[in-house]
Every structure is written in C-alpha cells, then in structure tokens.
Symmetry: C2
Subunit: 334 residues, 2 copies
C-alpha cells in the first residue's frame, strides 16, 4: 500500500527492507575516517584494469556482488536494477550491470543518484512490480577529473570550495520482508537553480535544493528535525553544509545537532580534500559501509538520508548556464 502524504511525500505502507548492501572504496577513502568499514578496497586506481573507467565498472560489480552475498541472493533473482554514475551516458552502470543480466533502468541524478535508485527500487518492490530490486551507484576521482575537469597530469590548483570525488561504490538490495533497515517514506526533489555558475562550488549550488526537499518532507509528515536520530546529506561538504544551516535557520529550522554529511564523514583532516568528498559513490559508500550497519547495530533507528546532485554538464557550463541542483530524501527506519 503506497500513500501520498501532503504534496511531495510518498509513504510505503509495508515498508520494503534493505536486505543486502555492499560497499567498495579506493586507497584515499581507506586512509580516511571509515577505513575498515568498506567491504572491498582497491589500492590501485585502475584496479588492475586497463583504464580508470573499467575500474569504476568493476567497483559497481563488486558492490552489487557483496550486497547479493549479504542478502543470500543470486543475480538471477533480481527483478530490476536501478543504477547510475557520473560518467557520460552512464557507462559505469551500463557496462557494470550488463553481466548480471537483470532488467536494467539507467538513472541520472548526478550525486543525488543513490537516493533516486533507492526510491525506485523501493517503489517497484512495495507496489508488487518486483520481488527483489537493486540500487547501485559509483564514482571515481580519476574518471570524474578526466571528464569534468582537467587531465590528472596537468596538476591544476583546486579552489578551497572544491570537493574531492570519492572513488567508490555502494549497492543495496530491497525486498518486501520485515527485516533490517526499511525505506518508510521518500520525498523526490524539484530542480532548484539560484543562479550559481561556479562548478567548483557545487555545495553552494546544491544546498538550496537540499533545504527545499527537507522542508517539503517535514511539512508533509508534520515532523521536526528532533524526531530523527540523524539527518544525513549526501555530499554538501563544508561550504554546502554551512549554506544549508543558514537557509533552514531563516525558516526557523535547526538541524545542526542532528546533521552530518557523507562528504564530511569519509575523509580525515590533512587529506587535502578542501570542502569534502563528493560524487554519487560518496553517499552510496558511506550508507552501505557505515550507516546501514550502524542502524542494524542499534546506533540509529530513524534517519533522513538526503542525496544532492548538481545537474550541469561541462558543455552547459561552457555555454554560460547556471547550475540546476536537486535533492531527494528517503526516511530509513530500523
């Protein structure tokens, strides 16, 4: 039974459960704050492949394989896989998922993609369209730099507002059983564009989208930040988190005591990542390595997970456009 709450929120009556999850990370992420929590670490940025892109493809495969193992399922049990990444034409996902031979729907929400895939996987399961759906995303510092910025060899200086694309992947499996963390509600975001054009300051571009979605969710559910153990944004980083606090404060909403950001959780001080981590592998790897296990162990029982995305391309920036941003939210309970 799926209901709508208010204008923007969907409630899953029999909340579908996340029965499997898997995470993959690179060397820099291993050297960060979540070190030993990832299922698999690749110390080589090419992961033994010929290209960085083929490494990222492998990350998705390893993350989904780990999730299948945890859920005690096989690839052929999957009714739908929703996957996405940051690369042009989502090739990490299409090449990554093809060997699983499951019905595939490619998703593009930039760094918001993990929540987008979780929502659609939960929707298919909760509605009866699927018995087992997968949600998978990835990113890779080296593939993202190649595509969005400069050749690595160029050694360009980074601005202080810039974020560091996480090398990693996360995958979740969703089933209609009453076991473990459940996706109880979701609020899908509207595209927000306040005119920011600096592609090195995506936190500031994404913060208004996060604020809009959080406010819509709180309105629709008649709840307050203090009703949740954790309000976890995807990858606003230092700059974007500060912007989010300021926007919400003006609306009389204080999340500071409850808030954390995946982009701030993954790297430690001294790792030279400037404003924090980013990429749709960031929120995915943090969720699947740390947050879900912490929910199962009882540390958290009711969280809001909000992934934010900047929906520009290098071409749209070259053509002088501002950055449209979006944020999607899921309420996960355990």
């Amino acid at each position: 039974m799926i209901n709508r709450l208010g204008k923007y929120t969907v409630e899953f009556g029999d909340a579908p459960s996340i029965t499997g999850y898997g995470s993959v990370a690179g060397k820099k992420e291993y050297e960060g704050l979540l070190s030993d929590r990832f299922d698999k670490i690749f110390f080589d940025p090419r992961a033994g492949q010929k290209t960085f892109e083929k490494a990222e493809i492998l990350f998705q495969q390893e993350a989904l394989t780990a999730a299948l193992g945890r859920a005690n399922k096989k690839a052929e049990d999957i009714d739908f896989v929703f996957a996405g990444d940051l690369l042009n034409q989502c090739i990490s996902s299409s090449y990554g998922m093809k060997e699983f031979r499951a019905p595939y729907l490619g998703q593009y929400g930039a760094c918001s993609t993990m929540v987008q895939t979780l929502f659609l996987a939960a929707l298919t399961v909760s509605s009866g369209a699927s018995s087992l759906s997968a949600a998978v995303t990835s990113s890779h510092f080296c593939t993202a730099e190649r595509q969005y910025r400069m050749p690595l060899e160029y050694g360009g200086q980074r601005t202080t507002t810039a974020q560091w694309t996480v090398t990693g992947s996360g995958a979740c499996l969703i089933e209609k059983v009453d076991k473990g963390p459940k996706i109880a509600k979701a609020t899908i975001g509207k595209i927000t564009d306040l005119g920011i054009k600096d592609a090195n300051n995506m936190g500031a571009a994404m913060a208004p989208a996060a604020a809009d979605t959080i406010m819509n969710y709180l309105d629709d559910t008649h709840t307050r930040p203090s009703d949740y153990d954790l309000i976890l944004t995807g990858d606003l980083g230092v700059v974007g988190s500060e912007c989010l606090y300021k926007i919400l404060e003006r609306e009389g909403i204080d999340i500071i005591g409850r808030h954390n950001d995946c982009g701030l959780m993954i790297y430690g001080e001294g790792q030279d990542v400037h404003s924090g981590g980013s990429g749709c592998g960031c929120s995915a790897a943090v969720l699947c390595s740390t947050i879900l296990p912490d929910m199962i162990s009882g540390k958290y029982s009711n969280i809001l997970f909000i992934a934010t995305g900047a929906l520009m391309s290098p071409l749209s920036s070259q053509q002088g456009n501002s950055i449209p941003a979006i944020a999607h939210l899921v309420n996960i309970v355990c």
Copy 2:
C-alpha cells in the same frame, strides 16, 4: 493492483491512461512522412536560441506544454516527471524540466528512454505514488552530432548503416482514469551485448536486445504477434529491422506483417537518412504525433511499443568496448 506475469513482465491491473501527449519536430522531420501531425515545428535548428542545446531544451518544454494542454492540466499538478535525452548529464532534461517545478527523476536509456519514462510514469500512477506523472524525451541532430560524432562543419561522409538523429521531442501525461490509450503491461529489458563495436551500425547492436525483450514478453503473456495490431520498434532503422526479423525467425516468430519502426516511419525516400531515423526524440515524436492519435481514432487498439537503446559513450568506444544495447516494451491498449 500491479502483478508480475512470468519472469519479466509487469501488468498494471487498473491500467493508467495517457491523458495528454505532445510532439515537437524540426524542419527535416516536417519534410518527412508525418509532416502535419506534429504539434509544433521548429524550422530553425536553433529555434531562436543561442545554441542547439538550448533549442533542444525548448523542445522538451514545448512538448510537455502541449501535453498539459491536451490533458487540461497545469505544471503544478504533476507529481513526478521522468525525462531523458542523449546529451551528457541529460542536460536537455534537467534544464528543460526545471521551470515546471515538479519532482524530477532523470532517466538514461539512450534511444530506449521513451519507454523507460512511460513505464516509470505508469508505475508511479498505478501504485498510488502519483496522481499525474509525465514522461518526456528529446533528441536533436545538431546536438547529437556535436557530442557523439564530428562538428557539423566538418561534413563527414556517413556510412550506409548510419542512422539520422531525429530533431524532436515527445511528452506523455499519465493518470489513473479510464480514458484513451492505456499502458496495460510492460517488459523491461536486460542489457545485451553481442560484441558489435561499430557505432555507425547501432541498429545491428540493438536488434538482439529488441528480440530478447519481445520474446520475453510473448512468453510471459502467452500471446503471439498476431494478437497485436502493431509491433512498433523505436529506431532500429532498415538494418536493425532486418536483423530483428532474422533473429525472431530462427525462434519461429514472424512479426513482419505487424511490424513497423519509428525510424522508418518518420523520413521519406530521398531524404538521405541512410538506415533511418534514431534518437530518443524519434520514438517519442512518432508515438505522440501519430500512434496515440491513431489509437484514439480507432486505427489501432492493442499495440506493442518497443524502444531500443545503445548504451555506449564516445569514450567507451575509444577504449575499444563493444556496444551494450537494451530494449524496453510497453503494451498500449485503447
């Protein structure tokens, strides 16, 4: 009520209806076989905008606006918009849809995207997650050439197997009412890769995916091609359609008398499009200009609409990868 039929097919119990549809096309499409059937024609490839990309953004807006007009709805009535296109980071969709201020989920299925968006829009409505969902896609010859091939000014020779990217867009609105064409069933495809590496022969790369999805649907529903008025593929073109006939013939399935292809329906002889039209605006514009009105007027009452996509990128081709392909199917009844 949503049920699964067999291994791959979803049946929508109270089939959601396509209550609005809109189509946009360019000059070459207007000069083709469907000439006066489009809602709006742009004779200027820039549509009065500064760039081809901004023109494509406008196409999506005009297509959705036409669909809203036909359904007698406003933008604020939309609970979810599923949109996609061929450009890097799906910018035609993110910039195109932002002004509608509706919850947005970006889709990437290359030329299969129109059926992908129709399936998800139908799923949200049928499950109760939405009262009104939109499905929108677009493509543009000039934006696609810039991104995937050569600068237009280069004037490169095209191979005979190459297809011509359609300049156009289509949009559908879906509601849970009993009125007009309905989405009754859907089969989501698996990624198929038989090793074809020639990005100028995408019809051949996509035909095995179309065959796989059609066979899965016929198996799951225990139906035969003769049960349908029309089996319409998205954009296999001349070469891909021939491949599809051959693959299905080996399995004892004959669709020739029932089959047509959007890529063959849109352009006339002498338009120098080689193997036919392509692009996710192709199947969208043909569906929304011609097929849906023909269903409403009684020409067709039960069709299979199968959009096919090639999921490579220029980078994946440069790195020597073969072309993964996919096909999604919806059964539309009226």
